[in-house]
Amino acid sequence: MGFLFTKTNYTLLIIGLFFIALGLILMIGGGSEDPNQFNYEIFNFRRLTLSPILILIGFIIEVFAIMYKKK
């Protein structure tokens, strides 16, 4: 019985996971140390736009990695 996935599938799976991890890393922070002080960093571009997009790209790559089949 052969392997379920080819090398390309595994490579794509790792790339997808890398994108998800990168998105999560970029999402870190934004909280306020002092509850009485508002931290405007919570609404910055990195955390609000870039990071979710990278996570979504990661999930799309994971779907592609599962479905990819060499013709």
Binding site: L24, G30, I66
Partner: protein, 257 residues
Amino acid sequence: MGIFEAILLGVIQGLTEFLPVSSSGHLEIVKVIFNNSLTKESLLTTVVLHAATALSTIFVFRKDVIILFREVPKNSHFLLKIIISMIPAVLIGFFLESQIEAFFSGQLLLVGVMLIITGILLWFSDRVKNSTNELTFTNSLIIGIAQAIAILPGVSRSGATIATSILLGIDKKSSARFSFLMVIPLIFGVMIKKILAPEFCLEKEMLIPLIIGFISAFFTGIIACKWMIKLVQNSRLKYFAFYCFSVSGIIFISYLF
């Protein structure tokens, strides 16, 4: 959230997404038992774990998904049936989800009643002998309504949709297949909506547990999904009906004393 808790949450998500036991119902029970302290998982955790089980479904049904998208004109009717089945849940999700959550949160007695309904559905679907009907557009809508009702805590999504489908006369294998395929676009839709909403705040310590939870939910989901398909085919859903009846019995007894 520590590593162990992440693995546990992943396993729970993986099992309850596919087995007909209602994850939201159990969450309400856990909330009441532990006074809400164990279930303070973030929205991001929920999104990541749901995405993992959606990927498990794609993994198990990857051949079907590939065929569906490679031969779209040939499978246009099936794809349209999936879209039709999504309509009731999308409407409820957009217009009533927050009201339902606010109204039913902490209502353990209601969870008990809904678990009995889930149990009855599973019990009767197991007794259906010959189910050979085709999946029609009307049937897809009825199964979709069952899916929308499953937003209520205590009603299992997989249980309600598979049981409804079998009771409509559709064969057991196709019922399980349709139930799991119909939810994939819905989960990804909800995921995109939630992940693009500015509600996330991630602590540094959460990063590794989140990735471990994702991997744990993905692999548990694959096992649970394959297991559920076998259970449906071999008419073993009655055991889950007994389980639902037992849990609701415990809920009712705890209310009496």
